[in-house]
């Protein structure tokens, strides 16, 4: 078994180095929210690393988290603490949420509704509400996730129906 492993390692390394050469990660950031989330991910054309990673299934199949300075207190015992859940979710799913809000429906919008503690009755109205207030929630393309979340909650709490039906605005 060990011998086979070595054989594969040598073969794979040989073709990896000879064909693709070194690769580098593409740094990407997702802006910063209250939690200071950000992310870095491999572009699609990582060649060797991506092929190898996919093959070995599990190396790179999960994000590994780097530690930044001044880690906030939004994680507790390995899970996201309740008072950071909304921020973390809005930040991480910012693109998907914007699309759902523009389209007036979608899974991320519903999940956000449940994080805001909205009752099932008003969940279905969140879509049309988000569409109607789209420009206020996202005034420009530079709006950060945190700003959008803040104004979204503001808009909702100014509406009688939502103010009462959503427990965590």
């Amino acid at each position: 078994m060990k011998y086979v492993k070595m054989m594969i390692a040598i073969g794979v390394v040989f073709f990896g180095v000879s064909v693709f050469g070194a690769t580098s990660a593409q740094a990407q950031s997702y802006g910063t929210a209250g939690c200071g989330l950000g992310s870095m991910l491999f572009g699609e054309d990582e060649g060797m690393i991506q092929i190898f990673a996919a093959t070995t299934n599990g190396l790179f199949a999960t994000q590994t988290f780097g530690i930044t300075s001044g880690t906030s207190n939004c994680v507790d015992r390995g899970v996201i603490s309740q008072n950071s859940e909304q921020e973390a979710f809005f930040e991480m799913n910012y693109d998907a949420l914007r699309q759902d809000m523009a389209a007036g429906q979608g899974e991320h919008l519903l999940a956000m509704g449940s994080l805001l503690g909205c009752s099932a009755e008003v969940q279905s109205e969140l879509g049309s509400f988000s569409q109607a207030h789209y420009e206020q929630i996202f005034p420009s393309d530079h709006t950060t996730a945190n700003q959008a979340l803040y104004s979204y909650k503001m808009q909702l709490s100014q509406q009688e129906g939502f103010a009462q039906a959503c427990a965590r605005l």
Binding site: G38, L41, N57, T64, F65, N93, D141
Partner: protein, 666 residues
């Protein structure tokens, strides 16, 4: 690979802090009289009942039998054990565990950051405690039960009531990912939150390098640590569905409430402990199976895997276990949703949506012109355009986001709710053929020499096999070995057994070119093969080769036509200076006749630049050189899911061969 920095990063900070080395079991003398004697009593009881031999103890400790007797745990971090010899001594670990349960309660000062080190062993090893408490019937008077607020708080946050096994299908244009990947989702109770905010347990290595050389060697030789991580499902959907465009298959698992409780308790005690990662025998799928076994001791999932573990195989294991899963759900990735949206458009609208979503900055006049269309059509076009833009630039941080903002604002301004998009799920992974293959082939090589060929291939899939359950037009083969008995028909004295072919790896990705998804096709192959030259015996010379090709594929319904430009390096003593460099085109077609049969035609031309005589100026004493082209035709018949027959003919330089083969997948 994705890095999330910052907030969620703290998850690892919390769970990956180095734990103290295995706590020393307190000497019985340190306990007061009655408690020391009760501990002694429990330890004797455990011995009498041979608890250390019980399956439940073995699964809790992740022990595996060793070849020469005894056990060894998969876990490598000392924090997982209470006895110094816990990794290899089941009994010592059990005795030490019982002793640790008697430790006095620990007062953690308020405001102190949570740290597993400060936890009482009864709480840190929750599943072990609950099992031992049950089988030994702990007396709460003599062994006080700890309160474990941290564990309670954690499991309350999970808010889970059932588990779902998740299988991630392959990346587009990357057959290497056809093995898939598995995770375990802990589905929240409806009142605790949505499925997206449920937590997912996955097992993965943590590579600390992106240097392909170091990375490859360490990944295969156990140089990375791996561990179970618990992350929100939306982190995973972002990664798989949006960034990598991998479809997810979800399989609901049936656990009784007490089984599920055991699962949660066990996840708590394994998280943060590390395992040396060997891709070939201890990978993500295998370790997830062991979690399920702790929950449901009647399951025998991990016993069936002596060697390498392929996620699709583990998925089938789970689905074969009676009553474990009965519901399946398909979660299409972004790309599939986009194509479904496109399918609802007219030709003219597809063009419009393409103009809006194809470029990072589309044309404002196109967007303005769209407003003449009826609102319902505008909605359809914009939804498709937004999906296309996200597909192209969603993960590109440098892309100008202002255009997407314009599209979204226009879409929001229409004040109409989008319709749910109809998506036809592909065939699920578990119905595909099994992963390993043995073959037997026979035929005629050259003028009249008969041969018999035996082949074995541990994994996974090639272009000629039915793609039910697999990515279409994709191939990955690992360690494909074929041995030949030559001169099989001329009497036993003349037979030779030769190594015909041994591929370490061969990948082919024929990604059809599409107006919206322009992906190049590519192939890579490395291994041992035979080359046929005048200087070689009839059955060729063995050479080691490495070939890479790039090109394109066009798809016309069931027919795919492809063309790749290949470059090859071959090493072998038959060549001048032991090396041959060659390059040239490879052109072929693949026709699928339903799922019953496939026809594959391929022609190659490889011009030798180095190491071999050119065919136009043959060197007389080396025999007649011939042009370096070859052609092959193969027809495969899918007799049943795991049984296949093929007819095959090859014509090329100094080689002509025809034969039939049978393949069994297992």
């Amino acid at each position: 690979m994705t890095h999330y920095l910052g907030c969620i990063a703290a998850i690892l900070l919390v769970i990956s802090l180095p734990f103290s080395a295995g706590a020393q079991a307190p000497e019985s003398e340190r306990l007061d009289g009655p408690r020391a004697s009760y501990l002694r009593h429990l330890q004797l009881d455990a011995d009498r009942l041979e608890l250390d031999q019980r399956r439940q103890w073995r699964t809790l400790m992740h022990y595996q039998s060793r070849y020469f007797g005894g056990v060894k745990s998969h876990f490598d971090s000392p924090s997982f054990f209470l006895s110094e010899d816990g990794k290899v001594d089941a009994r010592a670990e059990l005795q030490a565990t019982l002793a640790a349960f008697f430790e006095p309660a620990r007062a953690v000062p308020p405001g102190e950051r949570y740290d597993p080190k400060n936890e009482h062993p009864q709480c840190r090893f929750r599943a072990r405690y609950q099992w031992l408490k049950e089988v030994l019937a702990f007396d709460a008077e003599r062994l006080p039960e700890q309160d474990c607020p941290d564990y309670k708080e954690w499991s309350k946050t999970l808010g889970a009531e059932s588990a779902t096994l998740i299988f991630a299908a392959s990346y587009i244009n990357n057959p290497a990912s056809m093995f898939g990947h598995t995770m375990l989702r802990l589905d929240r109770r409806p009142d605790a939150g949505s499925i997206l905010t449920s937590y997912v347990v996955s097992f993965a290595a943590e590579p600390w390098t992106t240097n392909p050389f170091i990375y490859s060697v360490l990944g295969l030789s156990g140089g990375f640590d791996a561990q179970f991580s618990v992350l929100p499902f939306y982190v995973k959907t972002h990664e798989y569905s949006s960034m990598e465009n991998r479809d997810l298959w979800e399989y609901h698992l049936n656990f009784e409430p007490e089984e599920f409780e055991r699962l949660i308790a066990h996840i708590w005690e394994v998280q943060g402990n590390t395992i040396d990662y060997y891709y070939l025998d201890e990978n993500c799928s295998f370790h997830l199976l062991t979690l399920l076994e702790v929950a449901k001791p009647s399951l025998r999932l991990s016993d069936n895997f002596p060697g390498a573990v392929i996620p699709t195989d583990t998925l089938r294991q789970v689905l074969d276990a009676s009553g474990l899963s009965d519901r399946r759900n398909f979660r299409p990735a972004q790309r599939r949703q986009m194509l479904a949206r496109r399918a609802a458009l007219t030709v003219e609208e597809v063009k419009l949506a393409g103009q809006l979503g194809q470029a990072a900055k589309g044309k404002a006049e196109v967007l303005a012109a769209l407003q003449d269309a009826p609102p319902a059509r505008q909605v359809e076009v914009l939804d498709a355009a937004i999906a296309l833009w996200s597909f192209n630039y969603g993960s590109d941080e440098q892309a100008d986001k202002s255009w997407k903002y314009k599209l979204l604002a226009a879409r929001g301004g229409l004040k109409t709710t989008s319709s749910e998009v109809e998506i036809v799920a592909p065939t699920p992974p578990e119905v595909g053929h099994k992963t390993a293959r043995v073959s037997v082939a026979g035929g005629i090589a050259g003028a009249q020499d008969g041969f018999l060929e035996l082949g074995v291939r541990p994994a996974l899939h090639d272009l000629l096999t039915s793609d039910v359950g697999y990515s279409p037009l994709a191939q990955i083969e690992f360690l494909d070995l074929r041995l030949r008995v030559e001169n099989f028909d001329t009497g036993i004295a003349d037979t030779d057994i030769i190594l015909q072919h041994f591929d370490l790896l061969e990948i082919i990705s024929l990604s059809p070119l599409d107006a919206w998804i322009k992906k190049w096709s590519w192939g890579v192959k490395t291994g041992f093969d035979r080359t046929y030259r005048a200087q070689c015996p009839d059955y060729g010379c063995l050479v080691y080769d490495l070939a890479v090709g790039f090109g394109g594929t066009l798809e016309f319904g069931p027919l795919a036509l492809y063309s790749l430009l290949d470059g090859e390096v071959a090493l072998g003593s038959t060549f001048e200076n032991n090396v041959r460099l060659s390059a040239g085109p490879r052109v072929g077609g693949l026709l699928a006749l339903g799922s019953l049969a496939r026809v594959h035609l391929e022609g190659r031309y490889r011009y030798p630049f180095l190491g071999e005589e050119r065919w136009m100026n043959p060197i007389p004493w080396q025999g007649t050189a011939q042009p370096p082209w070859s052609a092959r035709v193969t027809v495969s018949f899918q007799i049943s899911r795991n049984f296949e027959a093929r007819l095959n003919a090859v014509e090329g330089r100094r080689r002509a061969e025809a034969g039939a083969s049978f393949h069994v997948y297992w």
